[in-house]
Symmetry: C2
Subunit: 313 residues, 2 copies
């Protein structure tokens, strides 16, 4: 079985415009949410900003905002309601990269084409920068004007709980533990899926679920978006494995073939390249099916799913 | 100038009974808040529990509960309202110890008389165990029944914001950065106070302030408790410095004289032993003055302040 030719990612002008505008809004909000590099203690704020503004694609914040906008009732600015979570998930994603890159963990020198935090600031500050990003993420979720409406306060707390669950030992952290324990060992397909659902899928699902909660979605809508989030969450990592096995370092901005060299199981090593691609395509179809009931309101979510699964880096 | 004879700590039967009962309640709540060691992924839950149940004195949770009980109106169980924060501050305190002990930071082998987390579980798991404790702390604050009253939800979010501020770069993390940067250098008295207020004082103040918020305290009462918290927060660290310079490893459960050996500035190295003790006594008097308006309602808070400042280890 050989791979069919892959279609280029379809990014319509409409989607591209939405992404550009929302990325700018996220950059501004992240900038406002973090003390300046000159604020005491300057070292830690410089280190935090170095990693937070290192050219990330902001996929997670975009998913938060797209989910909120898809379900927000007329008159409610879904993106504004969901922006604290959009920032928080990017901070948590960034903290996890900073800690994962440490010498005691994956020992990576390069991230997004730049030296990793500990190479620039030393291990101690890199550990604390990760801690600071994680702390600020939850602080931001709790930071709300005293005169906010009861519904707003409730949704904030609820989205905070979703984030806490996804970032915890049954999500992001559990996935990293399983990843470390799997190194150099043969793991089966179900363990690999569990690893990816925890390490990458949990936080991506939380983006969609949390964004929907903050915009006041119904339980039924949250469930639909949850299914979309679970599918693209896993697809994201399958595509990551495919790219790690096929792309070069310049395109990825990190060391290509690193997982293979470290003896890590990937979708490619377990299933082969063609099957891994087929799995990603199947998950993409699942994602589209889950949000079909939303119709036109979900066009951005649909476009983001295509973009994630068809990406080249 | 020589030190006057120090009075033994006065722990009345009333205070001792309160402490014993609340410690049991905190241990139970912490146990319920953390997955069992057998829960997947077992390694991380074992590591988290190893450090969380290592014989800590639970000073911070006790302050949370005492503050809540001092201000709770008749009919409200202050301790029950404040228990999630009591657990959260102990988790955050524990995470900060686990990360501070890492080889890249203070490189400590012994903590509370036991090998440190990274000596037992390795550096990677110790880093992740700290991350897990920090994440679970904020998760716990956000975890509330869907039918909780609006006031309860608001107080939870507000206490979460207090905790986030205290644990962040202008509190706990900032203090640790300043501590690292001060190693082997001469720092002046005001920098030392800033360091301690951030590294230890911020979280201790947050215990008192957050506990009061969760029990529905008035703004005026919160301000009084804030002053009490700031005084004992700094006093705690001054006494720590005095003990580090005078006690032995067996009593402290950690390496005595470590700060001096590392060339770290302490209240003793900057002010001398007698002056450091006088500073602690002055802060204790400030703490008592701040809570005097509460009268009998603050007897536990008063007793805890005495216990913290007069402690021997």
């Amino acid at each position: 079985m050989t791979s069919p030719p892959r279609a280029e990612p379809v990014v319509t002008d409409d989607l591209a415009g939405w992404i550009a505008a929302r990325r700018r809004a996220v950059e501004d909000a992240l900038d406002r949410a973090m003390p300046a590099e000159t604020t005491w203690p300057a070292t830690i704020h410089a280190a935090v900003r170095y990693s937070l503004f290192a050219g990330g694609k902001r996929i997670r914040p975009l998913l938060v905002l797209a989910a909120a906008e898809a379900v927000a009732p007329p008159g409610l600015d879904g993106a504004a309601e969901a922006m604290p979570l959009a920032c928080a998930v990017e901070m948590i994603h960034t903290y996890s990269l900073v800690h994962d890159d440490l010498p005691a963990m994956d020992d990576d020198d390069l991230r997004r084409g730049k030296p990793t935090s500990h190479k620039v600031y030393g291990e101690a500050i890199a550990i604390l920068a990760g801690d600071a990003l994680l702390t600020r993420a939850f602080h931001l979720m709790a930071d709300i004007p005293a005169d906010a409406a009861n519904d707003t306060v409730r949704r904030r707390l609820s989205a905070g709980a979703v984030l806490g669950e996804a970032a915890g030992t049954r999500g992001l952290i559990g996935g990293q533990v399983l990843d470390l324990e799997s190194e150099g060992r043969t793991i089966d397909a179900s363990t690999l899926e569990r690893l990816h659902r925890a390490k990458t899928g949990a936080l991506l699902s939380a983006c969609v679920r949390g964004g929907a909660i903050l915009a006041g979605a119904s339980a039924a809508d949250i469930e639909r978006l949850e299914a979309y989030g679970a599918a693209i969450g896993l697809a994201f990592q399958v595509v990551d494995d495919v790219l790690d096995g096929t792309a070069d370092a310049a395109a990825l901005g990190k060391t290509a073939g690193k997982d293979e060299a470290a003896g890590k199981a990937t979708y490619v090593s377990v299933h082969g390249l063609d099957r891994a691609r087929a799995v990603a395509d199947g998950l993409l179809a699942d994602a589209h099916a889950a949000i079909a009931p939303f119709g036109e309101r979900a066009r951005i979510l649909a476009g983001l799913a295509d973009m994630i699964v068809r990406r080249r880096s």
